[in-house]
């Protein structure tokens, strides 16, 4: 109750209510996430059920166009699946993989960042060198390489079966340095502050100091990059799927849908690419906008402005 009251009066909520962009983004994001969670319930068709798919329906334009079919509001894809349903299922996959990957990154990154920042010295130098090298390769390149290796190692068939957990693993492994660096930087900033020394003077164990005193104080930057990392993970997933290194066409994510539609753009079937594209961009954009807003609010420098 008290927490709620505190939250109600907080600067956080206050600045949220004042910012139209943040409110709109939040509402859109919430809607999209709800749509993706409820996809099996609200989607008019089940794109995974091969018995309901008729290849004769392939490449139908949206219902408002000349050859449109009211059964398929946004038209159909190359395999004759209802595009709207496929997109909802695709968004669902993207959200799942994105959140899963960020969760994995966060665990690896926070752990390594904390160890590195608190221990300092050789351990720090070693871990951060790895992070630096990996980052200088770019997370996309690392993800592409890991997935390429996995695909060669597992074989295409197995890889497609295991695509969701593998993508979570790939994107998680590719992007942990972002977290590790952020957490490390804020641990370095916090660990020399006097409240940490005070905790040491009390005699608290370093484990307790790390996780009880320092960690909560690194959470603002972690929160900010978490939003942006979800956007990045969704983008990475889309990129991998677009390259044929991610979700297979039978279980398409937004990226693989765009990929499958790309070839047909020359024959005029723009909707297979455009609609999933718009959905992907809107989803990523609202997360980025919220991330930006969050950074402005949580950054004490701008806060004092």
């Amino acid at each position: 109750m008290k927490q709620w009251k505190r939250f109600k009066n907080s600067y956080f909520l206050h600045s949220f209510k004042r910012d139209r962009v943040a409110i709109v983004s939040f509402v859109v994001l919430l809607t999209l996430i709800l749509l993706s969670i409820l996809a099996p319930v609200i989607a008019p068709h089940n794109p995974y059920d091969t018995t309901t798919i008729d290849i004769m329906n392939a490449e139908m334009p949206p219902s408002w166009m000349e050859d449109g079919n009211p059964d398929f509001v946004l038209g159909t894809d190359i395999q004759g699946r209802d595009l709207l349903s496929t997109m909802l299922y695709g968004l669902r996959l993207s959200v799942m993989i994105g959140c899963g990957a960020v969760f994995l990154q966060a665990i690896i990154g926070i752990f390594i960042g904390m160890i590195s920042g608190y221990a300092g010295g050789k351990v720090d130098a070693f871990l951060m060198r790895i992070a630096d090298v990996q980052l200088s390769f770019s997370t996309l390149m690392v993800a592409i390489m890991i997935s390429a290796i996995f695909q060669v190692a597992f074989g295409v068939g197995r890889y497609e079966q295991l695509a969701v957990p593998l993508l979570v693993l790939i994107i998680g492994l590719a992007e942990w340095p972002q977290y590790a660096r952020t957490v490390r930087a804020s641990v370095l900033g916090e660990k020399n502050k006097e409240y940490v020394e005070a905790a040491r003077v009390i005699g608290l164990s370093s484990k307790r100091i790390r996780w009880r005193h320092i960690l909560p104080n690194t959470m603002s930057p972690v929160l900010v990059i978490s939003t942006i990392q979800v956007a990045n993970a969704v983008m990475s997933e889309a990129a991998l799927s677009f390259l044929g290194l991610g979700m297979p066409v039978t279980k398409p994510s937004l990226g693989s849908l765009i990929n499958s539609g790309f070839e047909y753009i020359f024959s005029g079937s723009w909707w297979i690419t455009l609609f999933p594209g718009i959905l992907l961009v809107v989803f990523v954009l609202v997360i980025n906008l919220l991330g930006d807003w969050l950074r402005d609010v949580l950054n004490p420098k701008l806060y004092k402005g």
Binding site: V152, A231, A238, G277
Partner: protein, 324 residues
């Protein structure tokens, strides 16, 4: 400065050894050099003989050392598909990719510096808001989607520009260049815009935020108090200090463009290293894949080291004391 350079170069060599180790391990685990050389239609006994001959039964470390030695001499193995040394294959594809990256970098640098400075100096006016709004939309559109949209508009609908390939190229001392023909340049436009679309917003935001931070510093305030002209304060006092972090971050980011060439080259069927890499994955051409990883790794390391050295030259603290 000399000591600083020695340190950075030593670090680069260590990183290259580690990348070599990774590449070598991949080759060991999933590659099959025997297949790369003789294909699949050879008897088991002959294969074993060949394994022994190739030293594939030696201890891991010995093989690794040999691998590195060969790599230093430019031998990264044979491509299973092309039946040619992998390095040769990659080098034949490299000009396409490097020209693409160069063109994009040029677009990014030429646009981001003025836009970044402008939005930092006028943080609240309308043009700045439009630029910043555009930049966040920009980072939210995946490169491949930008590429597809560009193709749809300018190639499919308007027929202004070609949609795929490099067009006519000229061979200059072994370098297949598309810069020297009108057709080549036309082919370059869409891919390079698409490729720069991901980094341009990031660069604008980076320059803007660094510049704004610099404008808030005491020394800039002191420069105002000295009665200097605006231009001198903005373009010398503030921008020179903005440049330092922008060089470190920006240099690395430009290197990262190479990663995104995989996406753009796929969309535009641009016959570069990225396109080749994806084909290698599809064909399970392990040697070529590993060679690509090592070459691109070397490229990244070289870029990073050069960026660090430039940073050291620009920053008087490092130039004079050799310390960070």
């Amino acid at each position: 400065m000399f000591a600083f350079a020695v340190r950075r170069i030593t670090q680069a060599i260590i990183v290259m050894l580690v990348i070599g180790l990774l590449g070598f391990s991949i080759k060991q685990k999933i590659g099959d050099p025997v297949r790369d050389i003789v294909g699949v239609s050879v008897s088991v006994a002959e294969r074993d003989a060949l394994r022994e001959e190739l030293g594939l039964n030696d201890p891991f470390l010995a093989q690794y050392v040999r691998f590195i030695k060969n790599a230093v001499h430019g031998d990264l193995g044979m491509s299973f598909f092309f039946k040619r040394p992998t390095l040769e294959v990659i080098l034949s594809k490299a000009p396409a990719t490097l020209e693409l990256v160069f063109a994009s970098s040029l677009i990014i640098i030429l646009l981001s510096i003025p836009l970044g400075i402008y939005t930092a100096i006028n943080p609240r006016n309308l043009p700045s808001r439009i630029i910043m709004g555009g930049s966040i939309v920009g980072v939210s559109i995946p490169v491949f989607l930008t590429a597809i949209i560009l193709i749809y508009i300018f190639a499919v609908e308007l027929h202004w520009l070609p949609s795929y390939g490099r067009g006519e190229t000229v061979n200059v001392w072994g370098w297949e260049s598309g810069f020297l023909t009108l057709d080549g340049l036309k082919h370059l436009i869409l891919p390079s815009i698409a490729l720069s679309s991901i980094m341009l917003p990031l660069f604008i935001r980076l320059i803007r935020s660094e510049m704004m931070e610099t404008l808030e510093t005491e020394y800039v305030k002191f420069a105002w108090a000295k009665g200097l002209s605006r231009r001198r304060i903005w373009f010398l006092h503030a921008f020179k200090n903005t440049l330092l972090p922008v060089i470190t971050v920006g240099g690395v980011q430009l290197g990262i463009l190479i990663a995104y060439t995989i996406l753009t080259e796929t969309v535009f069927q641009w016959q570069g290293m990225g396109f080749m890499f994806l084909e290698a994955v599809e064909r399970s051409d392990t040697s070529l894949l590993v060679a690509y990883i090592i070459v691109v790794g070397a490229l990244f390391v070289v870029v990073n080291t050069i960026v660090d050295l430039i940073y050291g030259l620009v920053n008087p603290t490092i130039r004079i004391t050799g310390r960070k």
